[in-house]
């Protein structure tokens, strides 16, 4: 890049921070896409109608929380097993 096209130091820092938040946003979105797909398959079993049933709606909300609980549970189990070996 030509010298006169360079950003000054404070602008570079600001841009680096901006890019970091945008990347975090993108990661958040991709996690939400992944979980929507997974929870859709788990919770929406019938033909889609004009609105969600009460049970489908709560299944979708619970699906996210239980998935995260599962991941925490797995980590805890692995740590327990590791400490038994030590």
């Amino acid at each position: 890049m030509a010298d006169n096209m360079k950003f000054d130091e404070s602008t570079q820092k600001e841009l680096a921070k901006f890019v970091e938040t945008e990347q975090a946003q993108a990661r958040l979105h991709s996690t939400i896409h992944m979980m929507t797909g997974m929870c859709w398959d788990k919770c929406v079993t019938g033909t889609p109608s004009t609105r969600f049933s009460r049970s489908e709606e709560s299944c979708l909300a619970n699906c996210v929380d239980r998935f995260l609980d599962t991941s925490l549970f797995m980590v805890k189990k692995i740590e327990e097993q590791r400490s038994q070996l030590a």
């Binding site: 000054d8 841009l15 929406v44 033909t47 889609p48 969600f52 699906c63 996210v64």
Partner: protein, 101 residues
Amino acid sequence: MSSLFGSSSSGVPSPPDMATRKEALMNAVRSENALANAQELMNKTNEKCYAKCVTKPSTSLSGSEETCLSRCMDRYMEAFNIVSRSYIARISRERLERPSD
């Protein structure tokens, strides 16, 4: 205004010009991100609703398949919103409990 940023030496762009380019860059990144998100949502909706509504592909989409597809699309977007609401609620709850991470 320019005195705030010091006098511009030769080769360094004047502050207003740099601010314009900075804004343009940020907007480009923002719209790129938004586009990627929308495309992902479209792809997922397409995939999930095709699986659900078009179980036996024939020579054209039937009326009932089209009804199913348009309902499915609305429901998938709703599901996306429910999932993001619960996920974000969970994340912020855990942030409050453990502010260190």
